[in-house]
């Protein structure tokens, strides 16, 4: 059973990678298992300067999900290149760097630095972070802004680019088309949905940032729907994410049209979830009649629907 998938810049031995922000820069998880097992690693968002992020509390649990408002805390792109990325080289796993910013210039700067470092195999352009006041989300909800930042980043990047889409939009296909036209090599979807929890005893939003990004199994149906829709209109490959916790979830994402899958929140519930999914995946694929990961991708799209309306 071959788990191999080849994507722009990423030659993956299996389609499983930890999602950005849920795995730091890999150090902590490297103490738990050999990172070499992973298909790839997507590291925490990088910005031009170091950022402290939002005040705490930064996370809250919700029904089958969680809210986070970390606020892009990171040591800045230069320190990441100097101190974090070299550590990951030893595992011989493709590294995807998540690029964040508050302006087109910042995105371009961070992307250039990372792609020139020769320590990363691809960039994930985070135009969908709901947790910072400036930048991020508005690039992810306006197709014109998304097109522009994608185009400019693509111009300077020496490695393939995956634009990470926000689900907080009415028309995800329009966003996907815009960034595909602007030259993105692939898509990464979905980021979190903006949510809030109110802490009853204190009568105020629980998160210091008030709102946070909703992730986990709660949002899986939205992720599957968006990937399914986008797959029908855009031909660049998709890294799918949103609520993956089991190998069966991975099969569902592949059927919807994802070529690989990132696992975020589930790492918190079970820090060994990525290697456990990788181990269980061949059997899950076999159970549903697939001979490889490649064989499963997009197979949830029947050429024509057999359901006819009775209206």
């Amino acid at each position: 059973m071959s788990l191999r998938v080849d994507l722009p810049g990423l030659s993956l031995k299996n389609p499983i990678m930890p999602a950005s922000g849920c795995f730091g820069f890999g150090r902590e998880f490297s103490e738990l298992y050999d990172l070499h097992q992973l298909g790839a690693i997507i590291i925490k968002a990088a910005t031009q300067e170091k950022r402290y992020g939002n005040q705490t509390p930064r996370v809250a649990e919700t029904a089958s999900g969680m809210l986070n408002a970390i606020g892009l805390q990171n040591p800045g792109v230069a320190t990441i290149i100097d101190e974090e990325l070299p550590f990951l080289q030893s595992f011989d796993v493709p590294v995807v760097a998540n690029v964040a910013g508050s302006s087109v210039e910042e995105y371009v700067h961070v992307a250039r630095k990372l792609s020139e470092s020769e320590l990363v195999h691809a960039l994930e352009l985070n135009i969908s972070c709901p947790n910072v006041k400036e930048g991020g989300i508005q690039f992810g909800t306006d197709p014109d802004l998304a097109r522009e930042v994608t185009y400019k980043v693509k111009e300077v990047s020496k490695v393939p680019l995956y634009v990470k889409l926000s689900p907080n939009v009415s028309n995800i296909v329009a966003m996907a088309k815009a960034v595909a036209e602007a030259g993105s090599d692939g898509l990464s979807m979905i980021n979190t949905l903006t949510g809030m929890q109110i802490h009853l005893p204190s009568k105020r939003p629980l998160l210091a940032n008030q709102t946070g990004g909703l992730s986990g199994p709660a949002i899986k149906p939205i992720a599957i729907r968006m990937i399914y829709e986008v797959k029908q209109h855009v031909s660049i490959p998709i890294i799918g994410m949103g609520g993956v916790t089991t190998a069966e979830d991975v099969v569902e994402f592949l059927l919807a049209g994802a070529s690989a899958v990132a696992v975020g929140t589930a790492n918190f519930q079970n820090p060994f979830v990525c290697p456990e999914i990788i181990e269980a995946l061949p059997q899950a694929l076999e159970k549903y009649g697939f001979t490889s990961v490649e064989d499963c991708i997009g197979k949830g799209h029947p050429h024509e629907s057999s359901y006819l309306s009775r209206t």
Partner: protein, 253 residues
């Protein structure tokens, strides 16, 4: 930090909404230090995506058991309290940095705990006594019904109980009975942030260790959910990895 399949060996309700549980852990290669926490998965399904951090309240390295004491606050601790003896629990043990019991050159220790901050101090008190250090404990609870482990602490040294409503022991806050002049080498405190602020303020200048609570995501240092700014200069610590125990003057509460 290590993932362990633990079995619930014993469960007792010891005070209002408060449970003591004894967990048998297969092989305890590394003995947890006082102040470290267990990071406990709630349920098997996807209803609860976040683990719950609960301090180690005692360890029996011979029987391979850990004791935890927790209060039912919300859905997660409620579900935990319904576990039955014999049930398996998925637990990460030995998380974080505990109190530095081995490296203390002191004769006397003052322990100040509030509510669910009391449990780690029991294991700490035991380990301090093993080092020949004298222990005095000030333990604060909401009401008489919430008081637990008074006898257990009293076997290890002097204990003063404080309740907010005065229904048992001294009425008021732990800071009301903290001795103004100190004859202890170091203090050790754990409890709600408000209490920690009051205690560190009152004991400013004394050597002390505090244990901080914060809502956690990963519990292992990877997600930046639980940061706290350091007192000197810029920068931060991760409570789950660099803490939950810090020197009193190290971080900004």
């Amino acid at each position: 930090m290590k993932k362990a399949q633990a079995v619930l060996a014993d469960k007792r309700k010891i005070a209002k909404d408060t449970y003591e549980m004894e967990l048998t852990v297969e092989e305890m290669n590394v003995i947890p230090t006082p102040g470290q926490f267990a990071h406990i998965r709630i349920g098997n399904g996807s209803a609860h995506m976040l683990r719950r951090p609960i301090s180690i309240a005692d360890v029996d390295p011979i029987q391979n058991t850990l004791t935890i004491i927790f209060k039912v606050i919300g859905g997660g601790t409620n579900e935990l309290s319904h576990c039955q003896v014999g049930d398996e629990l998925d637990v990460l043990i030995g998380c974080g940095q505990g109190y530095p019991v081995e490296d203390l050159a002191i004769q006397k220790a003052l322990l100040i705990g509030g509510g669910i901050g009391v449990p780690p101090l029991y294991y700490l008190a035991k380990r301090l006594r093993e080092q020949g250090i004298e222990v005095t404990s000030i333990l604060g609870f909401q009401t008489k019904e919430h008081v637990f482990y008074e006898k257990e602490f009293s076997l290890l040294g002097g204990v003063q109980i404080v309740t907010n409503d005065g229904s048992y022991g001294h009425k008021g806050f732990v800071t009301d009975v903290v001795p103004p002049v100190s004859d202890f080498g170091s203090y050790f405190t754990c409890g709600p942030t408000g209490m920690l602020k009051a205690v560190t303020h009152q004991l400013k200048g004394q050597k002390g260790y505090i244990s901080i609570e914060e809502r956690m995501g990963c519990g292992i240092g990877a997600c930046y959910a639980c940061v706290v700014p350091i007192a000197d200069g810029e920068g931060f610590r991760k409570i789950c990895k660099d803490g939950p125990v810090f020197k009193a003057e190290e971080v900004v509460l």
